[in-house]
Each structure stands twice: as C-alpha cells, then as structure tokens.
C-alpha cells in the first residue's frame, strides 16, 4: 500500500470499486435462486444423497428383502430401530427367522446411515421424503414392513455371488423409488 503514490492509490481504488459495483448490478438483474417451497412441490428436487426417512422397499408382490437378522438394530447408535422376529419352520423342515415387525422411530434417528450400511441384503434405505413434521409424537414411530408382507424368495444358486449383490442392487432400486416419492408429493 505504501509503495503506491497518492493518486495511483485513488485510481486503483476507483477501479476496483467500480468492478465490485458492476458485479453486484449484474447480480441484481439475474434470476433469483430462492426456492418457493410449498408452491414448488412439483418441481422441488433434492440430491439423491439426501437422507430424510428410513424406508423398506417392497416389490409389487408385497415382498421385502429383510431377513430379520437384527444387524441394523445393533448398528443403530440411538436405538431407533426395533426388529421383532419369530422362528418358523418351513416346508422342508428348516427353522427360519421371519420378520414380524420392523419399527423405526424417526424422532430418535440421527440419519447416520449406519443401519443401511450394516444391512447385508439392502433391505432398507433412506428416501427423499422430507416432510416429516407431525403434531403427535407417537406418529414418529413407524412400522416399515407393510402388513401381510413376506421376505422375498431369493434364487438358490451360487452363494459366492452374494456379497456383491446388495451393493449392485442398491443403486438400481434407488432410481424408481425417487420418482415414486415425487409422485406422492404431487
């Protein structure tokens, strides 16, 4: 600053200040970035990485992928997941654990995604539904498995291919789900 002459300093200041004013005037006439929330529900778009509410996707035969192993419940740091299961005997005489109730308390959830990462079958995921405010605290407790649903029968062969399957299946399942939620918003 000191190595500049007095007039040189003034000229430089005027130059840089006018650049600033030009920039802000350009912004003045630009399109506004504001999202007008309740009105723009139909066009509102969130990034797919947003984590708003846990859900258990069901296919069109009312089947989910949860095998009631309880890993998500153990992974949850906040105790917001409660898996209730029962032991049943299948036709071929094997004992098998079956999901009865998958309870999720969004009021306790901190959306850390640990449950989704813990799930070996990709049975749960976070969706894009963000309007989670309710007037009654009890409504925060949700049951994620639909009534009458059962576990999806998986094709028997090749157990070696299993670990890769949930990771590959997850992004595929994501895409139709987002459209589903936006439809619900409308």
């Amino acid at each position: 600053m000191n190595n500049k002459s007095y007039l040189g300093g003034i000229i430089e200041a005027v130059k840089s200040l006018s650049i600033g004013m030009k920039t802000s005037l350009k912004v003045f006439f630009e399109k506004h970035e504001t999202e007008q929330y309740p009105e723009n529900r139909s066009t509102l778009h969130f990034s797919d990485r947003n984590r708003f509410c846990l859900e258990m996707p069901h296919n069109d035969k009312n089947e989910h992928k949860c095998i009631a192993c309880g890993l998500c419940q153990m992974a949850c740091p906040n105790d917001s997941i409660t898996v209730t299961s029962e032991m049943v005997t299948t036709e071929d005489g094997k004992k098998k654990r079956q999901l009865v109730k998958y309870e999720y308390n969004i009021g306790q959830c901190m959306f850390c995604n640990l449950c989704v990462q813990a799930c070996p079958h990709g049975a749960i995921r976070f969706n894009q539904e963000f309007e989670n405010a309710v007037f009654d605290k009890n409504k925060l407790l949700m049951q994620l498995n639909q009534p009458g649903s059962k576990v999806e029968e998986k094709p028997k062969p090749a157990p070696a291919a299993k670990p890769a399957a949930p990771a590959a299946a997850a992004p595929k399942a994501e895409a139709p789900a987002t459209t589903e939620t936006t439809k619900k918003e409308e």
Partner: protein
C-alpha cells in the same frame, strides 16, 4: 412549472378572513406538522420495503413476499411486532438520558426533513441560510447517538457510540465542504433559490461540470457515512457489536432509531437531489423544445421524488456491494482523501466560477 405558493397564500388569506392572524398561523403550523409526520411515516414504510427488496435482489433472493401481495404488508407487521414488545429497563442505565436519546435522533431527522424543498413554492423551512441550518441541525443526531451509547451502561453501545461520534464529526466536514462548493456555484444558501437557479440555468451537476461531479461523488460517500450505512456501518457493526449504540433498546425505542436511520438515508438523498440534480426542476435539454414542454408538464414533486429515489438506489447499491471499513481505514479515508480532495475541489470551483467557465 406550477407554483405551489399560490395555494398556500390562498389558504392563508382564507383563514385570515375568519380569524385573527395568530390563530391562522397556529392552525397552519399544525397542518404542516401533520403533513411532515405523515410524509415521514409513509417514506419510512416505502424505504424499508425498498431496502429489503433491493437488498434481496443484490443477493440473488426475492425478499419479503409472504405478508400481503408481494410482501407489501411486511413493514406493518414489523411495526406491530415492535409496538407489542416489552420495554426493557436496565438496572444501571441512566433512565432519563436513555429514554431521551431516540428523540434527539428523531428530532434531528425531522428538522433536516423540514428543510427539503418538495416543489416550487412548497418548502416548510426556507430562509436565506437554509443549507447552513441543514448542516447545523443534522449535527444534533450525533448527540442522540452518543447519549444512547452512554446511557445504556453497556460496552457494545458505548463502543458503537464512540465510533459513531468519530465518524459523524469527521464526515460532516466533507458534507460541509461539498455543500460549500455548490453554494459557491449558486451564490446563495437558500435551498429554494438554489433549486430555482437550477430550473433556470440547468442542473448544478451539469452547470458546474468537473468540480460539481467530484463534489457529488464526495457528497454521496460522506452522506452514506453520515447515515451510518453501507460500508460505513461501524457504529452498529452486527458482527462485532450486536447492534452498536442501540443494542439495549427494545420496542419503539429501537424503532425510532431504525426509522431515523432510513429517513436520514432519504434526507441525504433528497439533499443530493436538491443541490446537485436540480430538485424539482424538470429535465431540460436545450434545443429540444417539444421534449422540454412535455417534461415541464410533469409536476415538480414527481421530479423531486424520482431524483431522490434514484440517489437512494445508488446508496443502497453501494451499501450492498462493499464490505465494511475498519475504523482506521474509515478515518484515513476522510482525513487523508475526501477532505483534501474536497478542499482542492472548492478552489477548482472558485476558479471555474471566477473565470466564468460554468456551462
């Protein structure tokens, strides 16, 4: 141009016909008072709304748009909110001074507001040292700000008030110098006469060319600082002092400071429009008689408000573009740059006037 003094004279003679002159003057004073207060309130509403919208547009936002159509009722909602707030009484504050301070600021604002010539023949305070009076009464505001800081008995207000004192006293010099430049050009201190001359011979900013443009820019910078706005908002620097000198005020005490701040912005702009941009004088381009005739049909107060709000926009543009100055930068800008330049500018203007180089 329509001379409004015809209306006021007619009204005066009408009142004098039915009552003694002193009652007539008393009634006229009341009407003028009512006029000032109503105009003050309306302008405050318009300015606060405008500031919010302009600020939002400069930040790529929309601004208030929920209360009423386009958020037009937002200001009323805020005033209602402020009126219903509790007035906090601090234990160790000087109650009398603390309660008085907003009224000092408001009084200074009202007195300067009354100096503005709105239209031809429509001036409230108009006498031969009008510009001098304007500068003098605008100085009362700093008393109110210092009182507010002192009486609050709290550290942020006192720091804000001290900064404000340093700032206002410094920048008043530049305001005085630039107004002196214009007074030299016009040869009168009477504001109505200054405007009348501009209506006759062209706007001062054109008539005085280089020194007038320089003076206009310096006036804008100093005026912005006088209003505690824009890059010069150190007295209430939110990030450092919460709200500066009015930190401890609540309810309408704060409301009055807020009101005075916006009206000072308008008064500063209106004075810039009056002494540089021709006040109520319409835009006249020599040679284009048809154009001039059309322009002369637009009433004077419309011209006045258009010019004043143009300057208001300029000041808002400056405010929402530049970052806040540090206190040493603020003082060096005034004492090392603006004041020497405006002194030099006075000499330049004197030469221009003496040598007859005005346009």
């Amino acid at each position: 141009m329509f001379d409004f003094s015809i209306v006021t004279k007619w009204f005066h003679s009408l009142l004098c016909g039915v009552m003694p002159e002193w009652t007539a003057i008393g009634i006229e004073c009341l009407i003028v008072l009512l006029f000032i207060i109503v105009l003050y309130a309306i302008l405050a509403i318009v300015l606060i709304y405008m500031e919010r919208k302009v600020c939002a547009f400069f930040q790529c936002r929309i601004g208030p748009n929920r209360v009423g159509k386009w958020g037009l009722l937002q200001v009323f909602a805020d005033v209602l909110k402020m009126l219903t707030k509790e007035i906090i009484k601090m234990r160790q504050s000087d109650r009398l001074l603390h309660d008085m301070a907003p009224y000092f600021v408001l009084a200074a604002s009202f007195l300067t507001f009354a100096c503005i010539p709105w239209n031809k023949g429509l001036e409230i305070l108009d006498f031969n040292v009008g510009a001098f009076f304007f500068i003098a009464v605008s100085g009362i505001g700093v008393v109110g700000i210092l009182l507010a800081g002192w009486a609050s008995h709290s550290k942020y207000p006192i720091i804000g008030a001290m900064r404000s004192g340093a700032q206002l006293i410094s920048y008043e010099l530049s305001i005085g110098m630039t107004m002196l430049t214009v007074i030299m050009l016009c040869g009168t201190m009477q504001l109505s006469e200054i405007v009348q001359q501009q209506a006759d011979y062209g706007w001062n900013i054109v008539r005085g060319h280089v020194p007038a443009v320089l003076a206009f820019i310096i006036y804008l910078i100093a005026g912005n600082a006088e209003c505690n706005r824009g890059p010069f908002d150190l007295p209430e620097a939110e990030s450092e002092l919460t709200a500066g000198y009015h930190t401890e005020y609540s309810g309408m005490g704060f409301g009055f400071f807020y009101l005075a701040e916006y009206l000072n912005l308008f008064i500063c702009s209106a004075m810039a429009a009056t002494i540089f941009l021709g006040g109520w004088a319409p835009l006249m381009i020599p040679g284009l008689d048809g154009f001039n005739a059309v322009m002369a049909y637009i009433p004077g107060f419309v011209w006045f408000f258009a010019k004043a709000f143009f300057v208001v926009f300029l000041l808002m543009w400056i405010r929402w573009t530049f970052p806040r100055l540090r206190i040493d930068q603020l003082l060096s800008l005034e004492w090392k740059y603006l004041l020497p330049i405006s002194m030099f500018n006075i000499i330049l203007m004197a030469l221009v006037v003496c040598l007859g180089l005005t346009l």
